[in-house]
């Protein structure tokens, strides 16, 4: 039971490292952006896992609901911010990818690097 309670953290670790590995090893820039999204979303999962309380509900007061156990609102707030940061990075990164394609005619990192070297 205790082990199952840690499963979320293991998935967090695995997703994080899938993202990281892809970031390092894949050359395609769009793929890198997708990997970055996976990488960041792993962290979202990590924080949200922390916020869960056994038998709790979403932290919203409801009229007449009586005594309620709420899950922790703080990590949720943090992750709301982090998601927004993530999409902002994604937008900027994709814009750079588009410009790179216009300038180099490719979105493969190694090909761009080769062109830079020859320049």
């Amino acid at each position: 039971m205790k082990l199952l309670g840690l499963f979320n953290y293991w998935v967090f670790a695995v997703l994080l490292m899938i993202g990281l590995y892809t970031l390092i090893s894949k050359q395609n820039l769009v793929k890198k952006m997708l990997a970055l999204a996976i990488f960041q979303s792993a962290v979202f999962l990590f924080f949200i896992t922390m916020s869960k309380i056994e038998g709790g509900t979403a932290p919203i007061f409801r009229a007449g609901a009586g005594e309620q156990v709420f899950s922790n609102p703080l990590p949720q707030v943090l992750i709301l911010t982090a998601i927004v940061v993530g999409i902002s990075t994604m937008a900027l990164g994709l814009a750079i990818v588009v410009r790179l394609y216009e300038e180099y005619g490719t979105i493969e990192d190694d090909e761009i690097l080769a062109m830079d070297r020859n320049a």
Partner: protein, 497 residues
Amino acid sequence: MTLSDHLPVLQVIVPLLAAPLVILLRNGFLAWLASLLTSLCALGLGSQLTATVLAHGPQHYHVGGWAPPFGISLSVDAFSALLVLLISGASCLALAGGRLSLRRDIDNRRAPMFYGAWLIAVAGLSGIAVAGDAFNVFVFMEISSLATYILIAGGRDRRALSAVFKYLIIGTIGATFYLIGVGFIYMMTGTLNFDDMAVRLEGVIETRPVVIAAGFITIGLALKAAIFPLHVWLPRAYTYAPNAVTVFIAACSTKVALYVLLRFNFAVFHGNLLGHSELFSAFVIPLALSGILIASLVAVYQTNLKKLLAFSSVAQVGYIALAAGLTSASGLLAAMLHMFNHALAKGSLFLCVAAFALVSGDTSLKRLQGIGRRMPWTMGAFVIAGLSLIGVPGTAGFISKWYLIVAALEFGQVGFLLVAAIVVSSLMAVAYLWHFVEGAYYGTPPAGESSPMEVSLPLRCLIWVAALSNIFFGLFPQLPLALARSGTSALLQGGLY
């Protein structure tokens, strides 16, 4: 509340709120002027804040009126004040000195966007420097990073784009690592406030997640601070960014990451993790040493002046990391001093480079042959700032190297080895700078470009003010010393907030 009580937050929101107004302007010159005025205003606020901190000790500010750890607090000690001065000062210098250079790089239509991003970068970096909350640091780190990516992408060379993409990826990885580390600490303490963390970590018995947190935070910030071998993004980003942008980011952006690194490691972990000092030393010192030596060596073989100086920056970051890695009061003192002094030297150097580029159009060493005879004033300033980078006595660079050596000697047996490495790398600094200076004075200029052609008088004056400040702070280092002393003791005593 009086205005002076609001100083910590004003430092951030003045440039932050000026940014949306600047992007609405339709004229590049107006946007530049507004940014410069805002930066000057930030510098004024920063000086006021520094004076207050030196006179009355650390300043605290509860944003929204909520007391920490529930609300977000801002905490400004002497170390933060030092950073704030660097950031606003570098921004003023780069904007004032980079007007012509920026006009060349950024077309008028896109200029308001560019200057908006500039102000957001200033605000973001200042926001990190004054933050007292770990997550707030993350938010402002992202603000400053995104803005910095934009600034670098403004470079005319297409390689700016590939450089900035790499920076974006690595910067995001760094920030995310930092966030993971904060998450682990939150998991074990339930708080995000630095001070509260330090207190509550004491009671944590199970330290495995905390060690992991320290690892993530240190590696994440080392990525952002370009500590060798995590520096791969830096040389190209500095090289292909617009020249004025390089002046700004070279002076302050890596230092802000180092600031957070030191803050976390010394104010939060230092007293609470068994063997943290040894681990931190064992991790940082070898990296810093190899960074100092290898990056200096690589710099010797560069053919582009900006890249040469960029590798020198990697080496200099190594010095700061090395000083911090000594985990002693004198080491921290040296680290803070070197942040200040290196910013002075590198800011001045890159400003000279921007001036060279205005005349020669390029920063490759080949194109810059004979530039010393064409631009004797700018070149003279370059040499002075270069001496400071080497650490010649009488310049600011010497002061911090001296403290670094003293701290290294206190470190025990390895100390002599460290001193030897510092000396060797200083000599390599002579070599790589001379590599350029010699050609600049005695080389043959490219055909048809031998007539003297200095930049405008105000720019020359500014360059000389920057260069002479290296001498001034070498002879009268009282201000940075006072800040570093007070910053060190605040950092080590903990319980600052």
